[in-house]
Symmetry: C2
Subunit: 389 residues, 2 copies
């Protein structure tokens, strides 16, 4: 059942938006998109953007102004959505369950898309025979590699690499390549360390591809990426494609890693002041973790940004003001510990913007973007997001 449509949802300027509300700065989005596209071009690799951050066809159209291009997805629901908008070349970059593989191949059969799967075990490889038989579609599959002990995947020198590859072929599926994600790069903070992580990701992935080729597997696609390593990679010899997602919007975690400037962060939550506790230095706003997410990704960085950095309604940072606490629908603004600045005057009704620790997590709390450009109060468009699985 739909709630009643409120006229203010059709706001033309941010002052009349219902708060909390997710803002997306189109100019910053386009600048971030251009930056990585140019870097990938220079490195001679295909860029396969990860849509898990934006989950929006309108954002995808800014990535591919002409024809839809190759994308990465984190859920089959994303694959279904982007297939419905003409995207044909997709990688589902989460290790497959048999049920997810069946659902993915059913989508391929219905729509003709090429949705590639990911796995790292013999059990998953064996399951592909049943998937193929059930759906009548030959699965295209990547072997997931572990380049930095981050999560799943096989080490390039693991003897199981060959075994899994052979079993994929034995199951009648198509082994398209190897895929790695340098997830540990989020914990780095210096250019040297990031360049090294990117080279480690490259050499592990290319090395695995070479081992597979030596065993008769063509392994045409060599895919890697994380937003930090994608931006710091100086050489991608042997790699065919680069994946990244959060780079479209950036966030405070990426700023802490050193990948972007605060000014590059393209999304924020617009909130309204609803009270204050002057004796504690607190200002209360109507954006809590429901709007900001519970993500505290900067907690272990050099500069802990609380639940987000606070800007004025034009998006100019209020120096040293952060969201220090968050409950479901309340945020508490305070001066960062150790700072001698005073809390600016923020009377009840004042609008502010809050920058995300983690753009994927903040975005997930909202159903649409109100698209703005820079400090203008004008809302250019409303772009829907999807969610679910």
């Amino acid at each position: 059942m739909e709630t009643k449509l409120d006229m203010r949802r059709a706001a033309k300027v941010i002052d009349t938006l219902i708060t909390p509300s997710l803002l997306l700065d189109r100019g910053k989005l386009e600048r971030n998109v251009r930056r990585l596209a140019e870097h990938a071009k220079k490195l001679g690799v295909v860029l396969r953007p990860h849509m898990k951050t934006a989950k929006s066809i309108e954002v995808a159209r800014r990535l591919f102004p002409g024809e839809p291009g190759p994308i990465t997805v984190s859920t089959i629901a994303e694959a279904e959505y982007f297939a419905g908008h003409g995207f044909r070349d997709m990688t589902y970059a989460v290790g497959m369950s048999p049920a997810a593989a069946n659902r993915a191949m059913e989508l391929c059969r219905r729509t003709g898309v090429d949705l590639k799967l990911l796995l790292d075990t013999v059990e998953q490889a064996d399951a592909l025979a049943v998937v193929r038989e059930t759906t009548g579609v030959t699965p295209s599959v990547f072997i997931e590699l572990d380049c930095d002990e981050h999560r799943g995947g096989l080490k390039p020198d693991d003897p199981k690499l060959i075994e899994v590859a052979d079993r994929i072929v034995a199951a009648g599926a198509n082994l398209v390549g190897v895929l790695a994600h340098a997830g540990e790069s989020y914990g780095l903070t210096t250019s040297d360390a990031l360049i090294e992580a990117a080279e480690n990701e490259r050499s592990a992935t290319v090395g695995a591809a070479e081992i597979l080729r030596a065993h008769g597997h063509a392994c045409p696609i060599v895919s890697l990426g994380s937003t930090p390593t994608a931006h710091f990679a100086a050489n991608l010899e042997g790699v065919t494609e680069l994946r990244a997602g959060v780079y479209m919007f950036f966030d405070l975690v990426q700023h802490g890693v050193g990948v972007c400037a605060i000014d590059d962060i393209a999304i924020s939550v617009l909130a309204t002041v609803i009270g204050a506790k002057p004796e504690k230095g607190w200002v209360l706003v109507d954006a809590g973790w429901m709007a900001l997410s519970r993500d505290r990704g900067t907690a272990n960085q050099r500069l802990d940004q609380g639940y987000g950095v606070v800007c004025d309604e034009q998006g100019r940072v209020l120096e040293d003001v952060v969201v220090s606490q968050a409950s479901q629908e309340h945020g508490i603004l305070a001066i960062r510990p150790g700072s001698s600045r005073a809390m600016p005057e923020l009377p009840v009704g004042t609008q502010i913007r809050i920058l995300p620790n983690h753009a994927c997590a903040m975005g997930a709390q909202h159903d649409f973007y109100s698209v703005i450009n820079g400090q203008s109060p004008e809302i250019e468009a409303r772009w829907e997001r999807i969610r679910g699985w």
Copy 2:
């Protein structure tokens, strides 16, 4: 644009659900609801459940099997939704902005509901005159009290209490009472401390009402509540109503506080095993923070539950197995640090259930509940949830 409907969304048994998926155990829900309803009755107060946790008309119907009763909401969107389902007596328990007050009074005018507002400043009180003039509705208003330094609200002995009350009346609005929330009770762990917190919440709230009455304000409603204090209150003399929300579902934080047993927790996320790293003792599942939320509310409790406690597909706890790490769509299961148990065998494709740290936060990541009852695999119903503001 809708994604294509997958037949598995209409699953009749949990084995065929798309994972990750939110489960709600109806028997546990009903038991939890009955427990607090009986306690409130014994204490002689009205129970005004907070719908911020469930956000579902079907759950609300289990609270009020006959006529819709009094409820609390955390967003105007919830008020609009429940108004559309016949609820007439609501309190919006977040400090009002002028814009939110206007929107609330427009809802009252359109539908005839009684939606009470909350404030704690002279500025908000003064703004009510304009709200009244703009909407033609006389706002009914609570003054928010601060009983434990948790968030907003006035201390009962703050001279501003009388000033704000007078200004509410001067603005032509209706002061209906005082409202407190003992939010700091979530940090407690012993019965004695919880009973004391409940009595502190009561005496502060009743004391403020008496001060207002001595100054000529009738203050008919004396409202308080948090899930821990609501369950541990032994005496609510002078109080007219009790509010609580998370008690319907309960969660690991409430278990850590000592309010419920693990077996009382009514929601969980069904997930599927997608891999393993035996050398690290890891099992990977397809539920990450997108499905579980980023909430780590047990991190500062005596027993850190990671991103949630793991059960088998029938809901029986797998002793000492927790979600130790979560990325967007991946969870890593591991044995709790310090335990000597071994990780059980969980082959790829196995389904498990994950109990929430924080039910409000886990629920918010999903659009519907698959309703089950105990260990039966049968799905009785699919109940929608709402979100947004």
